[in-house]
Amino acid sequence: MLEPLVSMRGVTKFIYGGDGRPLRNTDVKILEDVDFDLFPGEVHVLVGENGAGKSTLMRILGGIIPPDRGELKIAGARVNLADARDAREKGVAFIHQELNLCANLDVAHNIFLGREPRRRGLKDAGEMYRRSAELLKALSADLDPRLPVARLSTAQQQLVEIAKAMSFRSRVVIMDEPTASLTKREIDVLFDLIRRMRAEGIGIVYISHRFEEILTIGDRFTVLRDGRLVGTRPIQSFEPSSVIWMMAGRSIDEMYPRTHAVEPEPVLELRGLRLAAHTPPIDLVVRRGEVVGLGGLVGSGRTELAKSVFGARRFHGGEVRYLGRKTNGWSPARLIRAGMAYLSEDRKTEGLIPPMSIRENLSLASLRSVAKLGFLSRDKEERQAAKLIQQLSIAARSSEQLVSTLSGGNQQKCVLGKWLCTAPRLLMLDEPTRGIDVGAKAQIHKLIDQIAGAGVGILMISSELPELIGISDRVYVMREGGVAAELEAGPELTQERVVACMV
């Protein structure tokens, strides 16, 4: 057996709190005890949902962040990478999804940035262009090293990044979703290049969400879920539905509360809504007191759908009817006043204002209810905060604590509390339990049930199948910007059925 180029053992990374210290005591970690091997001449595909830990694992390998625990071996030798430069010198090249090139410099200057060949202390431009041309030729890239990078296409820029990696004689190349903005033809060229690198014994880590590509180019694949290793298999055993199962499926080991009852009047109706010019029209309905699940893979259009309804995104035709009125073109502010709420999957930049207190975050979407003639009543605001902290059991010293210092679960309860203050009629939840600990998860599930019980319509996006199936009265499964299936709760609604509709 060959010796692995890279061997990672027991790699763990904690979540960091607002104070910059790791939170060791929660049971949520960004990465927990992950093992990962990369052999010479293989394309090792890394798959997982957003937030599963793929990027973190690669950032550790790329020297960008250090692991909190675990060991990393490169070519059999144990290493502690100081920074990205150190990693590069040890033969690890990281090609980021957003390419890191200086647009104003030419190709050769980018390849040799910071280590231009010198002669008697001065830059030796001739040598630099000569070596760049050689590198590009070795990649059979028809590219003039004197061309400014700003004039190159994304695919060509990627070539420059690869040439740069080759110039370091990298043995390990990490590619983070390299095909995200390439055309079909450019992808073919890239794959040729990857095969050539593979033939030379270079190990490639390939992060992607696109299953066809993974099957075309991969040799082995590793699935991560919630920061843990689910498994590493040869590509021959790659089967889309089973991989989705590995990414999203969990054994149902908890009871989901279900005390709410669905009423007939619709709260939200979508008629022929198109998320983009080329996606199919969507019809969807959410009724009073109903929890409607929205399943699908990353990039299937779930978040886009919620944001379109919430007026935070343009869409291409169709009709949004909310409480019987057409609300196309309404602003989020107007929709919030009408009782619509959207809990974003991005808690830190779209859900909360981290440097403000719990009290201020809770009242932000409903300031009018704690004010008179535009003047805020500190009293009312404090009473409201105290009530919600108790009702949602937010663990905090006082309502004046900054939300940036709270744990993920408590932050999420704050966002939920903010929307409860607006007396919502429709509550859209985007991954309401992502990245929070088990206890807080169960509490949020219970809250969702209670909120629905009060007659609120709920549209819940979730990548966690047991959650999606356990709480929802009905589930829409999205695929490629459209609704692929609508499934009623009951014996028919199983994880297998949902997965089958996703692909």
Partner: protein, 348 residues
């Protein structure tokens, strides 16, 4: 004292011992609190006040003629006008923007008010109202350009500032208007309790805006927008409106400053204010603890900032050092404030 006050409640409470029986415990707690860096935190939350007090004490000890009633009067008179201007700048800085046209609005307002009062014989209230409307209109331009044309505030206001500077020169035809009518001068010169009315006007404006920023829905939304524009917008904060309104407020208050300046020196001139005044106002806001990155700002603290830098200017005068040292000190203060801010952020 809008934002920090919320946290002061905690720290203030620990200093005062209530009943005798609790006092011993409170004293022990107090010592522990000082040891744990509580004192540092208290200073940290009231930087503007501590800088002001430190300057007053140092100047009283080391600068001859500083600690005199008439000197205090001088400082107050000199602070009144920048105190009005700093309020608007604080609001703009709270959004994460900046208004570099402020000083040029002052110049334009000065020459236009002189023409209205002296050439057109408009009554004082009409001049005052027109100048405020002029400021509002200029501010709306700044706001609309930054918000809807997507021009960064720094560039947009630098551009409009120079446009205004040029306009002011054209309007004035290169001359200064002296000997303004008495009823116009009365706006800022009427003596009240031994001080000119401009000081009380500034105080009144400050109180109104302090309440606006610290006690109203508008103020809370401004703070939220400054800290996180995206989250604020998705929570129903009318982000565009807030962003435009701060520039409108800023230029309106700058125009009022220009008018009061004109009254004070009894001359309308297009060169009044300018870049130096803008810079002074930004320095004052920063000394008052306003963040250049948005979210943090308070009217009361910014005015303490004005008083602080005016004390520095006053001391430089009293010590007979070149006025140009004052300019250098301002530059150093801004750099120092930003470096310190970065250091503390890194530690956090």
């Amino acid at each position: 004292m809008s934002a920090p006050v919320t946290e002061n409640v905690q720290s203030g409470g620990q200093g005062e011992g209530g009943e005798p029986s609790v006092q011993a415990a409170a004293a022990g707690k107090g010592r522990a609190w000082i040891a744990s860096g509580g004192l540092l935190n208290l200073v940290g939350r009231n930087v503007a006040l501590f800088i002001f007090l430190a300057l007053v004490i140092l100047a009283s000890l080391f600068v001859e003629n500083f600690a005199a009633l008439d000197n205090a009067e001088v400082i107050l008179k000199q602070s009144a006008i920048p105190a009005i201007a700093v309020i608007g700048m604080t609001m703009v800085l709270m959004t994460g923007g900046i208004d570099l046209s402020l000083g040029y609005v002052v110049g334009l307002a000065s020459i236009v008010s002189g023409i209205m009062a002296n050439t057109w014989f408009w009554p004082a209230p009409a001049v005052l109202a027109s100048i405020l409307v002029l400021g509002l209109a200029l501010g709306l331009c700044n706001g609309l350009i930054t918000q809807f044309m997507r021009v960064p505030a720094f560039i947009a206001t630098l551009g409009t500032g120079y446009v205004l500077y040029g306009l002011a020169q054209i309007v004035s035809q290169g001359s200064i208007i002296n000997r303004l009518p008495r009823n116009f001068l009365a706006i800022g010169r009427t003596p009240m309790f031994g001080l000119p009315s401009a000081v009380f006007l500034a105080l009144a404006v400050a109180v109104v805006f302090h309440v606006l920023i610290s006690r109203t829905i508008f103020g809370r939304r401004l703070k939220a927008f400054g800290f996180g524009a995206r989250a604020a917008a998705l929570s129903g904060v009318p982000a565009a409106w807030i962003n435009v309104s701060v520039y409108a407020f800023c230029s309106t208050l700058a125009a009022l400053s220009g008018l009061l300046f004109t009254v004070r020196v009894n001359a309308a001139q297009p060169n009044m204010g300018g870049g130096a005044f803008t810079f002074e106002v930004v320095t004052a806001a920063i000394v008052g603890g306003t963040s250049l990155f948005g979210g943090v700002g308070s009217v009361a603290n910014s005015i303490l900032g004005v008083l602080s830098i005016k004390i520095i200017e006053n001391c430089i005068n009293l010590l007979g050092v070149s006025y140009h040292l004052y300019l250098a000190v301002q530059g150093a203060i801004i750099l120092l404030a930003i470096i310190l801010g970065n250091l503390t952020n890194r530690r956090a």
